[in-house]
C-alpha cells in the first residue's frame, strides 16, 4: 500500500488523512523529520503559511523536504503548502522551500469575505466540474519552464504540476470529491 505523509505541524491535517484513507492509501501524520524517510509521497496541507513556514524551519523540515523533492519524490501542496513550495512570494520576504518553479501572490482574491466555492474546470480530471473551495487563497502569477497549468479561475492560475510536484491554491481536502487525491496517488504510483 502507498504510504503518504501529511505534514502535521498546523492546519487541515485531519481532512487530508481522511481523504487518503478513502482513496485506499496509508496516511501518516508527519511531525518528526525521520518519518519522512518512510513515505512514498508528501502532502503539505492548508493552514497558515506564516506559522507552518516558521515551524518547518525550527524543526528541521526545511532541508528535509527539499531533499525529498530533489529525489523526485512526489509532493503535493494545498494553499499554504503551495506558498511554501514556491520559488518566491511576490511583495513579501517569507522564506519558501523553492522547490517549485512558480511565483505566487498571497491572499490574491482578497480577505475571508472573498473566500469562495467554485465549480472548477480541470480538463485532466474529466468533464465534471470540481467543487473547489478557496479560503483566503493565493494565485500563481508566473510559472517556469516545464510547469503545466491544470486549472484557472477568471484567467488566474490556481493549479499546476511539474513532474513529481503538484500544487493547488484551493482545498480538495474540504470537498467530498476525491479525484485530485487519486490523481496525486497515481503520480506516486508511477514514480514508485
Amino acid at each position: 500500500m502507498i504510504k503518504i505523509g501529511v505534514l502535521a505541524l498546523q492546519g487541515a491535517v485531519r481532512e487530508h488523512i481522511q481523504m487518503l484513507k478513502n482513496c485506499g492509501a496509508t496516511p501518516i501524520e508527519i511531525k518528526r523529520i525521520k518519518q519522512v524517510d518512510d513515505i512514498d509521497g508528501l502532502i503539505i496541507p492548508g493552514g497558515e503559511s506564516t506559522t507552518i513556514g516558521k515551524l518547518i524551519v525550527d524543526y528541521g523540515f526545511f532541508d528535509k523536504i527539499k531533499e525529498f523533492a530533489n529525489l523526485e519524490k512526489p509532493v503535493y501542496g494545498t494553499c499554504a503548502g503551495l506558498i511554501l513550495m514556491s520559488k518566491r512570494v511576490i511583495g513579501e520576504s517569507i522564506k519558501t522551500l523553492n522547490i517549485m518553479d512558480i511565483e505566487v501572490r498571497r491572499n490574491a482574491f482578497g480577505r475571508q469575505i472573498d473566500s469562495m466555492e467554485v465549480g472548477l474546470k480541470i480538463p485532466k480530471l474529466g468533464e465534471k466540474e470540481y467543487p473547489a473551495i478557496f479560503i483566503r487563497a493565493p494565485i500563481i502569477e508566473n510559472i517556469g519552464e516545464q510547469v503545466e497549468t491544470l486549472a484557472k479561475v477568471d484567467g488566474k492560475i490556481v493549479m499546476v504540476q511539474k513532474k513529481n510536484l503538484l500544487v493547488s491554491s484551493f482545498h480538495p481536502e474540504l470537498s467530498d470529491d476525491n479525484r485530485i487525491h487519486n490523481y496525486f496517488l497515481n503520480l506516486v504510483d508511477k514514480i514508485l
Partner: protein, 294 residues
C-alpha cells in the same frame, strides 16, 4: 458557479486555523509580535480581558480604525470581538471586512435574551460555550467555530478544563444513546435535534472546537490540546507576561507539539514571569464572564 460566504467557506477558514494559536492583541505592535511568533490569527481588542476585568464599566467592540490598522499590518487573519447580541457592531465589522467575528462574553452583553443571527453574515463567527447544549445552540445560530469560555482574564486554566471535559464527555454520551433517546437529549440540552443527531453519529461537533479562557503557559496549551481542543486562544497570557515574544513563540510550539514532552520541556524553560493569576473563588459570582449569554 461561484459563491461567497457559504457555511463551507466559513467553517473552512476555521479548519485552516487548527493546531494553531490565536492571540489577543491591543495594538499594531503587538499584532506584529504575534505574527512573528507564529500565531495563526490575531484577536483585536481595546484591552485584554485581564484589564477589562480590572477596569470594570462597559466593554465594547474595538475602534474600527485600530482593527483596520492591524489588518494592514499583518498578513494572518484578523479577528475582532462584538458584544453578545449586538448585530450592529457585527455589521460594522463585516463592512470593515474583518476575517472572523467573536461574539464574546468578554465584552458586556448587549442582549441578555438573544444572540446574533449569524447565518445572515458572510463573515464567519466564533462563539464561546461552557457545555454541549450551548455549543450546539450557537452552531444552530450560524457559528462556524466554537471555543470554550473558560474564565477569561484570570490566567487560571481550571474553567477551560472544566468546559472542555464537559463538552467532550457530553458528546461521548450522545454516541451511545439509541435513536429514540436523542430527541429527549435534545430537549434536555436545549439544542437543535439535527445537531444532536450529527454529534451522536460523528462523535464530534460539526465545526472546529478551540480552547479559550485562562490559558497562560505552554503547558496549559498542551493540556487543552490533550483534552480535545483543536487549537487555542490566548488572551492576557501573552502580553501580560514579562516577555511576550518568548511566551508567544513557546505557546505556538507547545500547541503544535502538545504530545511531545521533550519539546514541551524545551519551550517551557526561561519564560520569565508569567501573568499573575486569579483564583476563581476570589471572583464574585456576578462577575463571572462565563455566565453571560448562555
Amino acid at each position: 458557479m461561484k459563491e461567497i460566504g457559504t457555511f463551507k467557506v466559513k467553517t473552512g477558514l476555521a479548519e485552516m486555523l487548527k493546531g494553531g494559536v490565536i492571540m489577543d492583541i491591543v495594538s499594531v505592535e503587538q499584532a506584529k509580535i504575534a505574527e512573528e511568533a507564529g500565531a495563526v490569527a490575531v484577536m483585536t481588542l481595546e484591552r485584554v480581558p485581564a484589564d477589562i476585568r480590572k477596569a470594570g464599566g462597559v466593554a465594547r467592540m474595538a475602534d474600527p480604525q485600530l482593527i483596520k490598522d492591524v489588518m494592514n499590518a499583518v498578513t494572518i487573519p484578523v479577528m475582532a470581538k462584538v458584544r453578545i447580541g449586538h448585530f450592529a457592531e457585527a455589521q460594522i465589522l463585516e463592512a470593515l471586512e474583518v476575517d472572523f467575528i467573536d461574539e464574546s462574553e468578554v465584552l458586556t452583553p448587549a442582549d441578555e435574551q438573544h444572540h446574533i443571527d449569524k447565518h445572515k453574515f458572510k463573515i464567519p463567527f466564533v462563539c464561546g460555550a461552557i457545555n454541549l447544549g450551548e455549543a450546539l445552540r450557537r452552531i444552530g445560530e450560524g457559528a462556524a467555530m466554537i471555543r470554550t469560555k473558560g474564565e477569561a482574564g484570570t490566567g487560571n486554566v481550571v474553567e477551560a478544563v472544566r468546559h472542555m471535559r464537559l463538552i467532550t464527555s457530553e458528546m461521548r454520551r450522545l454516541t451511545i444513546l439509541s435513536d429514540d433517546e436523542l430527541m429527549t437529549a435534545a430537549k434536555e440540552m436545549g439544542a437543535p435535534y439535527t445537531l444532536v443527531k450529527y454529534v451522536a453519529e460523528n462523535g464530534k461537533l460539526p465545526v472546529v472546537n478551540f480552547a479559550a479562557g485562562g490559558i497562560a503557559t505552554p503547558a496549559d496549551a498542551a493540556l487543552m490540546m490533550h483534552l480535545g481542543a483543536e487549537g487555542v486562544f490566548v488572551g492576557s497570557g501573552i502580553f501580560k507576561s514579562e516577555n511576550p515574544h518568548v511566551m508567544a513563540k513557546a505557546i505556538v510550539r507547545a500547541t503544535a507539539y502538545y504530545d511531545d514532552p521533550e519539546i514541551l520541556l524545551e519551550v517551557s524553560k526561561n519564560l520569565g514571569k508569567t501573568m499573575t493569576g486569579l483564583q476563581i473563588s476570589q471572583i464574585d459570582e456576578m462577575d463571572l464572564l462565563q455566565k453571560r449569554g448562555i
